[in-house]
């Protein structure tokens, strides 16, 4: 469990970056919180610096778009998804529960841990 900070410090439309095993980006979309791996699966870029459009974030460098709910890219240049992570709010504080990486025959599956 990773403490992100106060909910009041992450208003709608804003994002934060926290460090789990890898950097994680946390977004506030109209009051709903989402967390995904921060590093774009296409090339090295920080998705927390990206542009929020509904439930998607556009990578700030090469315009790959990811669905914050599933981590799936909407199309090229990204081909691989990013991991999603569970988020909770307790007493005004935001926490992220980092998903664990499970390697299965070259593909990376995920489970919430």
């Amino acid at each position: 469990m990773i403490l992100v900070g106060e909910l009041a410090g992450l208003p709608p439309g804003e994002s934060a970056r926290v460090h789990g095993e890898v950097p994680i980006a946390v977004f506030n979309v109209d009051g709903e919180l989402y967390a995904i791996d921060d590093t774009c699966s296409h090339q090295d870029a920080s998705l927390s610096d990206g542009w929020l459009e509904g439930c998607a974030v556009e990578c700030p460098l090469h315009a790959a778009c990811f669905d914050l709910r599933t981590g799936q890219p909407s199309g090229p240049p990204a081909k691989k998804p990013v991991r999603t992570h569970a988020v909770s709010i307790e007493e005004g504080l935001i926490y992220v529960y980092e998903s664990t990486r499970v390697a299965t025959g070259g593909a990376v599956a995920e489970e919430v841990g």
């Binding site: 610096d49 990206g50 700030p60 315009a63 090229p76």
Partner: protein, 387 residues
């Protein structure tokens, strides 16, 4: 349309094929490419691929799912002419591909120096170029880069990381002058000096010395720089010679309207080879930007099929990036000669910053950022609002 032929199998060609299938074209698609490799992404060739941190597999533009695109590949073959009367693409080996429509996506090639080439002298555009250069950029090698444009600058940056000695020769007084102007060009030029490359502005190449292998570069100011490896980064030119006699209007690229339509029906042009009308500048521009090659095809395919196409407004704002010495340089919009520069955030002398280019009426028309991707993304969208 029963059969559409896409000529050019790089980013714009692949994006065209994807757009055709996404827009529910069910007929045959033939993809012609003159390189013997399957489509790959070029930006890493001067960066991560040259540095050896990513592999050929990492930069492929296709994956296993792309079998669904059902493409007939004709790679390793250059197109040699376009028979517009008979609707055929003719390949170098004489094969005629009869087709209902043609998408021109032949890109550009590195401009070369005239005369004979010495060993150790490179250009960088293709995967084969990058492999050849990579094998020579060993620690301690003395590299001279001719031209401090984006390709030259990125190669210099990568070479510094590989432990090479790097000299950069730039004919203009300031690097990147045309794209960024004097002040911001100078800011980018200082990156070289800060990270240990030597920048020699305001001097040109007089002669490459050595035989059969280059050993030095003589400059127009008389100096001589020792060299084990030379990279010539003096720009690119569109691959359009094969279209001579086709009836297409060719003038620094294939002239098109804002939708990629050429002067001949059922022929569109996209990517680096297209000299297209741009809403953003209200005039024609040939762009060699990766993002243009990725995004222009969807609009051109819609035009070919006679359909409406709507793209996010900021796609109309020309955009490019460059990675140098661990810094992200991003530019969007278009700089005119009469633009003034205004620093909006940060400080160019100390590192991260964002600068606006203002037209004489005070309107921002361009944005440059170093290591400010978030604010940059916001400004890029604001620039789209003036359309």
């Amino acid at each position: 349309m029963e059969h559409i032929t896409v000529v050019g199998a790089s980013l714009a060609g692949m994006a065209t094929v994807r757009a055709l299938r996404a827009q529910e074209v069910e007929g045959r698609i033939t993809l012609v490419g003159d390189e013997r490799h399957e489509p790959y992404d070029r930006p890493p060739l001067s960066k991560e691929f040259l540095a050896g941190t990513v592999t050929e597999d990492d930069i492929r533009l296709t994956d296993a799912d792309d079998a669904e695109l059902d493409v007939e590949w004709a790679i390793g073959q250059a197109a040699s002419s376009l028979d517009t009367a008979d609707r055929a693409v003719v390949l170098a080996d004489g094969t005629r591909i009869n087709t209902d429509a043609v998408v021109l996506a032949t890109g550009a090639r590195a401009r070369r120096l005239p005369g004979s080439t010495l060993q150790g002298v490179h250009t960088l555009r293709t995967l084969d170029d990058a492999r050849a250069l990579r094998s020579e950029l060993v620690a301690g090698a003395r590299l001279v880069v001719i031209g401090a444009g984006f390709i030259g600058a990125e190669i210099a940056s990568t070479a510094i990381g590989l432990g090479c000695e790097v000299d950069i020769v730039e004919a203009a007084a300031v690097p990147l002058q045309r794209a960024l102007g004097d002040d911001m060009g100078a800011v980018c030029g200082r990156l070289h000096t800060r990270y240990g490359a030597r920048l020699h502005p305001g001097t040109g190449l007089a002669e490459l010395i050595g035989k059969p292998r280059v050993t030095a570069v003589r400059l127009t100011d008389g100096r001589e720089l020792p060299a084990d490896v030379v990279v010539v980064g003096i720009g690119a030119q569109p691959n359009t010679e094969w279209l001579a006699g086709s009836g297409l209007e060719v003038d620094d690229g294939v002239r098109t309207d804002g939708h990629g339509r050429t002067s001949i029906p059922e022929i569109v042009a996209v990517g680096d080879c297209a000299h297209s009308y741009r809403d953003y500048t209200a005039g024609p521009l040939r762009l060699e930007h990766w993002t243009n090659a990725l995004q222009q095809p969807a609009a051109a395919v819609a035009a070919l099929l006679g359909r409406e196409h709507s793209a996010p407004a900021h796609h109309a704002v020309p955009y490019f990036w460059s990675d140098q010495y661990g810094h992200k340089i991003q530019f969007a919009g278009h700089r005119a000669a009469d633009c003034a520069v205004q620093i909006e955030e940060g400080d160019p002398d100390s590192g991260a910053f964002l600068a606006l280019y203002l037209a004489p009426d005070g309107q921002p028309v361009g944005v440059l950022a170093i290591d400010r991707p978030r604010a940059f993304g916001q400004w890029r969208r604001k620039l789209a609002q003036r359309l």
